[in-house]
């Protein structure tokens, strides 16, 4: 078991910087997800921790040992690749046990461990098959078994589920989470899927263009996005953004886009009348209301999207599209006038220039 410390990590390919001065501290036993849009440097970061990519600058320590200059095999880490990377010329059994056999472990040592991981991942029946004769999900399990059998200090996953269909992805996601609860091995999991990140992570490291945009628990990231970018990236349906201006009055009020909204004065202590802000309204935090309720918005229904238990209602409010989620969507149809509201506590405000959150607490 081990904690991971990355100090001032820089990575450049030629003159093109990919990671710029990244600081990261991952405590022992934690399940961390690197989340971010494609090309933001998640894989590069993971591969530098694995030792598959050299750092241009900075140090990486695992379990207190500086591993920056160690080859991948000596870092005590195991990695699961997006493509599974199983050895096609070996049976599943040989794939899983290769690392142990290479270290010269005896049969008596290997057998019980093989049985254990095979059982954990439901691979008992497939041990004598070749990888190409397995389905994608089974291949991914073999890749995980191969990583697990050596009981590494750290597990690294690079988008391990993105080649699987939605149903299987969900199932394996739950399995990975359960296995982590059992083994408690420090894990870094890379994904570009925010839902996957939210469901699986202890902590999310949200990256953008080679920098950490925000680091925190899924709840923190969802409820207190540090920037407009984070707010926009996290949550489905995506957040609504409205340009507005703080107006004078006895309550903290923003006005813009034909809407007048009260904000939480505890959250935004520094807002001054006349200041321009960009408000963020999460669809999931809004619902139908009586006309005249606090923060009520009225608009015309443009489209209703059925999501099963809930529906996303896209409305037009003073020329701007605003969507919200409600369970009572079945009574609505395009053209209807609706009234919906959001509690002041759930309104986010960002600096329109920098995109930084203006929330203080």
């Amino acid at each position: 078991m081990a904690n991971i410390t990355c100090t001032d990590i820089v990575k450049a390919y030629g003159a093109h910087p990919v990671i710029e001065g990244l600081q990261l501290d991952i405590p022992d036993h934690e399940f961390v997800v690197f989340l971010g849009p494609s090309g933001c440097g998640k894989s590069t970061m993971l591969r530098m921790i694995a030792g598959l990519e050299e750092v241009t600058g900075g140090r990486i320590a695992i379990g207190g040992t500086d591993v920056t200059d160690l080859p991948p095999g000596e870092r005590g880490v195991a990695m699961v690749f997006q493509s599974y990377a199983l050895y096609p010329h070996m049976s599943v059994r040989d794939n899983i046990t290769f690392g142990l056999r290479r270290q010269g472990a005896s049969r008596a040592e290997i057998e019980p461990r093989l049985t254990q991981v095979a059982e954990l991942l439901g691979l008992e029946k497939f041990l004598d098959r070749r990888p190409r004769n397995l389905s994608g999900g089974q291949q991914q399990r073999v890749a995980m078994a191969r990583a697990m059998i050596k009981t590494p200090q750290v597990f690294l996953f690079d988008e391990p589920l993105s080649n699987l269909d939605a149903k299987l992805r969900e199932k394996l996601r739950t399995e990975i989470r359960k296995i982590h609860m059992q083994l408690k091995t420090t894990t870094i999991f890379v994904t570009h899927d925010q839902l996957e990140a939210m469901t699986i992570a202890d902590r999310i490291v949200l990256m953008r263009d080679g920098k950490i945009e925000q680091m925190g628990s899924p709840d923190e990231i969802f409820e207190r996005p540090a920037s407009r970018f984070v707010a926009d990236f996290i949550g489905t349906p995506a957040m609504n953004f409205v340009h507005a201006e703080i107006v004078a009055g006895d309550r903290l009020t923003a006005h813009g886009g034909g809407m007048t909204l009260h904000l939480s004065p505890q959250a935004f202590t520094t807002l001054k009348p006349g200041q321009r802000v960009e408000l963020g309204l999460r669809p999931a935090r809004m619902d139908l209301c009586e006309p005249g309720a606090e923060n009520a918005l009225s608009g015309k229904v443009v489209l209703v999207e059925n999501m099963g238990a809930e529906g996303q209602v896209i409305t037009e409010v003073a020329g701007q599209e605003i969507s919200f989620v409600t369970q009572a969507f079945r009574s609505l149809s395009p053209g209807d006038s609706v009234c919906f509201a959001i509690s002041p506590d759930h309104i986010h405000a960002f600096d329109p220039e920098t995109g930084d959150s203006l929330r203080q607490e």
Partner: protein, 271 residues
């Protein structure tokens, strides 16, 4: 109905093509077992009393026997050394020098553009000076140009098709570069490399011009076979046919051996 006709027609054309392609080979094989009078009859004979005399003649003839031996030695050595030098070079090119890989590959290929005559004559001069004219060593040396370049040219794409992830997964398990090459890249690329080696083998096995110009006493089988055809009026057709069959056999044996090697290599890993 139209479908049936077109299907039948396709089959007929295919059958014709196969007969056209395989006919001469079959005829040669048959001829190798015929006596001369069965071959030179105006009406071709399909039924005849087979004889091994032709093969006996060949294997008793010291020139041909030596030619066969020389061919086996020279070609095996050239292909073997070509593979030992060319395959690791191709892996390195494919993995670590992709930037220049295309240029190197083209340069290597361009060696094959040169007409053999263009190098044969300078080689005669150089070989005479070095005192390796008409030696098996000299032939191996000149064939190495062909084998190394062909092996590299064909093996680079074979290694490029090996997923990089597999090599990285092996590195994660602690394997060094040599071990990764030996235990992973090579076995995974083996089926394509196998084709490359067979192609290279056949290329030099059938090589006539360089062998003709650079060796006299130490002639290889194609040179000997070519000389039989110019024996004079009394052409020993049966013997020529048998010689041809003998010429074709070693590549087949070679392919068989490689197949066996491939299978054991692919199956092994650490015990």
């Amino acid at each position: 109905m139209g479908k049936l006709i077109s299907a039948t027609l396709t089959r007929a054309v295919l059958a014709l093509l196969i007969v056209l392609a395989l006919g001469p080979i079959l005829w040669t094989v048959l001829g190798a077992f015929k006596e001369l009078r069965d071959i030179v009859t105006p009406v071709p004979k399909l039924v005849f009393t087979p004889t091994l005399d032709n093969f006996a003649t060949i294997l008793r003839n010291p020139t041909i026997r030596d030619g066969l031996l020389h061919s086996v030695i020279v070609v095996s050595a050239a292909v073997l050394i070509g593979a030992v030098l060319g395959i690791p070079a191709a892996h390195t090119l494919a993995r670590h020098a992709r930037k220049w890989g295309d240029d190197v590959q083209f340069f290597v290929l361009s060696l094959r553009f040169m007409p053999p005559v263009a190098i044969a004559i300078p080689f005669i001069v150089i070989y005479l000076d070095l005192g390796i004219y008409d030696t098996l060593f000299g032939l191996v040396l000149v064939y190495l140009i062909v084998t190394v370049s062909t092996v590299i040219w064909l093996a680079v794409p074979a290694f490029e098709r090996v997923p990089r992830d597999i090599e990285e997964a092996a590195a994660m398990e602690g394997c060094g570069p040599a071990e990764i090459f030996w235990r992973f890249s090579l076995p995974v690329a083996a089926p394509s490399l196998f084709g490359a080696l067979v192609f290279t083998f056949v290329l030099v096995w059938n090589e006539l011009l360089l062998a003709l110009t650079l060796a006299a006493q130490n002639a290889t089988l194609p040179v000997v076979a070519a000389s039989i055809t110019s024996l004079g009026k009394e052409v020993p057709w049966g013997v020529i046919n048998a010689a041809t069959v003998l010429l074709v056999l070693p590549p087949l044996v070679f392919i068989g051996l490689l197949m066996g090697l491939l299978n054991t290599m692919v199956r092994s890993g650490p015990k």
